[in-house]
């Protein structure tokens, strides 16, 4: 049964993205207010094309796992493993506690790089030469499987895909597990990679915007694709002052926008707007009149984006004040962009995610008193 009094605490955060690797790198990006996108090169019919992209480096994973162990692990799973290890290290979870972890993973596209490589294997040499290793790694839950295997996590495992709502949808499941008492802790993570395949999709379907994204402007597309992993260690806590970043108070996921105002009154509403015009107008309608912030220009446009939004908000809740929205306070719709450094009140903060298919999600995070 769902206990009314049990709270869920975010006790560890592990992030890897275009801004770098680890909570400190994210916090530095949030304080600095700008991350310059890198570039990815795509082989195209008329020669290589370079597109701006927030790429993520998995080299630091060698600090956690020997290279030999990773010999069959592709970039997608490496991203996830990096996020997972960073979150566990950040929370200071002892190795002995890993066995009972539940694992919940959100991924919009799955392991697209290895999926392409698998197809390459039989396109090149015939169906009889298809690579079984590539096939096994191309399964959508490969990241969750690799995490469970390498951490020895024998609790339940779930992978969810719902494109841009993958994160809140999966987070709902993680929350249910904790409230039902199935597990004491859930390692929750979101991951997607920019592969040759997803890069190609982006190249064909989006403008090649080369500057810094300005997602609070609803005109031309300013989205830059990103890749990365954002992981959270969630646990049940009876104690209101349990150590951690913040509490995970509620997760609401649904379709068809409810009548406005969408959000309950919150001190801060963090928008997942990412510079893609299809959703900009919907964010404008849903967030009108709210006190808002938006951090997607620091990591780019990708299905795990909302997990980075949650990580950023968790950092703000722990520090007690709002990080400035990159690019300044100008906004094309009637909302207040909360200035950097504004103290956060005792009220919750919301993370709003919308997709282009009438879907919406609101994740509410609450403050916990930090030890002096």
């Amino acid at each position: 049964m769902i206990g009314r009094d049990s709270r869920i605490v975010i006790g560890g955060v592990g992030v890897a993205g275009g801004f770098g690797c680890g909570v400190a790198a994210l916090e530095q990006a949030l304080r600095g207010g700008e991350v310059r996108p890198g570039r990815m090169t795509l082989p195209m019919p008329d020669g290589p094309v370079e597109i701006p992209a927030f790429m993520s480096d998995t080299t630091p994973l060698k600090d956690f796992i020997p290279l030999r162990t990773l010999r069959r692990v592709d970039h997608f799973s490496r991203l996830a493993l990096l996020g997972a290890h960073l979150a566990l290290a950040d929370a200071g979870l002892p190795e002995a506690e890993r066995a009972g972890l539940g694992v919940v993973i959100a991924s919009g596209h799955g392991a697209t790089g290895i999926t392409f490589a698998f197809q390459d294997s039989f396109i090149n040499d015939g169906d009889i030469c298809a690579s079984p290793t590539h096939f096994a790694n191309s399964v959508h839950n490969s990241a969750a499987a690799n995490i469970s295997i390498l951490l020895g996590a024998t609790g339940p495992s779930l992978t969810v895909t719902q494109f841009h709502l993958s994160v809140p949808s999966a987070l709902l499941a993680a929350r249910q597990w904790l409230l039902e008492g199935r597990v004491e802790r859930v390692l929750f993570g979101a991951v997607d990679e920019l592969s040759r395949l997803t890069g190609h999709y982006w190249h064909r379907q989006h403008a090649h915007f080369a500057g810094i994204p300005s997602p609070l402007h609803t005109g031309a597309e300013t989205a830059v694709p990103g890749e990365g992993a954002a992981f959270l260690l969630l646990s049940r806590a009876q104690d209101a002052d349990a150590p951690g970043y913040c509490t995970l108070d509620s997760v609401t996921v649904g379709r068809k926008l409810p009548p406005r105002p969408l959000a309950p009154p919150v001190g801060l509403l963090v928008l997942g707007a990412d510079g893609v015009p299809e959703t900009a107008a919907r964010y404008a309608a849903a967030a009108a009149g709210s006190r808002i912030a938006c951090y997607t220009p620091l990591y780019g446009s990708m299905p795990p984006g909302p997990a980075f939004d949650i990580a950023s908000t968790a950092l703000a809740l722990r520090s007690g004040s709002v990080f400035a929205t990159p690019g300044g306070s100008s906004c094309d719709f009637p909302a207040t962009v909360v200035p950097g450094g504004t103290p956060l009140g005792p009220g919750p903060a919301g993370i709003l995610t919308l997709d282009d298919d009438d879907g919406h999600a609101l994740v509410m995070l609450g403050r916990i008193r930090q030890p002096a």
Binding site: G110, Q119, A130, P132, S148, I149, T154, G155, L158, L197
Partner: protein, 391 residues
């Protein structure tokens, strides 16, 4: 945990395009796997599969989503629900699948590989084909919407996720199940793993060589007690409990002792408040691969001695993400009938397997059954179902 009522069911697979036809077919023992019709392979061996014959292609969506929608229509009609009655309710959708959301298309990849600028139409189709979203869109549903991609246990896990939504009051009605189409990429992949039988699959048999792939969808309508009371609907079955656990052992091989499966079954029992002696039968995963059947029969023998079991994959093939849902539907329908079909493909006991499945149609006593799934990545899921109120 309180039971969650199942008020409607739908199913489509090689055994039939609705649940009634499927049950008639599997209880007659019929099965006819054959090499794939919808695609070709240059592999020298033609492996038999269980395709759904004559199911029309829908250019608007992937076959996976179309199969799912087909089974949902049957399940909703069985539950006496339509667009109008659903409109004021909070209705969630949770669907398990494997390939239905993979952002890849072979035609696209071949063109890209050959240095062309591929047509984006297949990609746009994939982007509009998330199986849960397709159902939510079609019926204008407003509740949570989730696609579970837990490989071959997806369908079982999805039913449990939806039951959890109903229990906690997140929605009034939930459409839950699984869907997967037979795809060339998967067909080639399973052959490469050398776990595909070049003859009709033989779950738990001494001469088993592997699985045959199949396709289809199974869907269930779960309903809150308050809505069910208001509508005065009888339950066809109940979700009584569920457990899942990861082997954390190997990407493609099950744990040799079935460690994760044991934990999943134990959690299923504890959440349902039942024990092994309460079970009428087990619908096993039983793919027909040497390793799966070995581990599974061992766990069944040790944890559930004397409980009759069978695999229905000899009638449907392995429908991957749909399998757990199709088998949940079969399990519920068998509890209704009070009998289970024989385990198709089983004729010679394997001295290495310490338990054997039922060979022919068998009456079962009791009102509770277990349906279990083992998956890639070491996922294990156990769903405990109870007989409903219908006569």
């Amino acid at each position: 945990m309180p039971p969650v009522a199942i008020t409607g069911m739908g199913c489509i697979c090689a055994a039939g395009q609705n649940l009634g036809d499927c049950m008639t077919s599997i209880f007659s023992g019929a099965r006819a796997p054959a090499p794939p019709v919808r695609f070709k392979s240059n592999h020298p061996i033609r492996y038999p599969v269980f395709e759904v014959p004559g199911f029309p292609e829908d250019p608007a969506m992937l076959r996976t989503s179309a199969l799912g929608l087909h089974a949902v229509r049957e399940a909703l009609s069985d539950a006496g629900l339509d667009r109008q009655t659903l409109a004021p309710l909070r209705v969630g959708v949770c669907v398990g699948t494997t390939i239905g959301c993979a952002m890849s298309n072979e035609t696209f990849c071949r063109q890209a590989h050959a240095g062309a600028n591929p047509d984006m139409a297949p990609i746009v189709q994939i982007q509009r084909s998330n199986p849960a979203a397709v159902i939510a869109r079609e019926f204008g549903l407003s509740g949570p919407c989730q696609t579970v991609v837990n490989a071959c246990s997806s369908g079982t896990d999805a039913v449990a996720v939806a039951a959890s939504w109903i229990r906690s009051g997140l929605c009034d009605v939930a459409i839950a199940g699984g869907a997967d189409e037979l795809a060339r990429i998967t067909y080639i992949g399973f052959i490469a793993l050398m776990i595909t039988d070049d003859s009709p699959c033989k779950p738990f048999d001494r001469n088993r060589k592997g699985l045959n792939l199949g396709e289809g969808a199974g869907m269930l309508v779960l309903e809150s007690e308050s809505v069910r009371a208001r509508r005065n609907r009888k339950a066809r079955a109940f979700v009584l409990g569920y457990g899942s656990a990861c082997d954390a052992h190997h990407l493609t091989a099950p744990h040799p002792d079935g460690a994760g499966l044991r934990r999943a079954i134990a959690e299923g029992f504890s959440t349902a408040g039942v024990s092994a002696s309460d079970l009428a039968f087990v619908n096993a995963h039983g793919t027909g691969t040497p390793e799966n059947d070995k581990v599974e029969s061992r766990v069944l023998r040790e944890m559930l001695p004397g409980v009759p079991y069978l695999s229905t994959k000899g009638y449907t093939g392995h429908t991957l993400g749909a399998a757990g849902a199709i088998e949940a539907v079969f399990t519920a329908a068998c509890l209704e009938r009070g009998e289970i079909p024989g385990n198709a493909g089983f004729s010679t006991p394997d001295p290495d397997l310490i338990a054997t499945p039922v060979r022919e149609v068998t009456k079962v006593a009791g009102t509770i059954a277990l349906s279990e799934s083992l998956a890639f990545g070491g996922n294990n899921a156990a769903l405990i179902l109870g007989r409903g109120e219908t006569p």
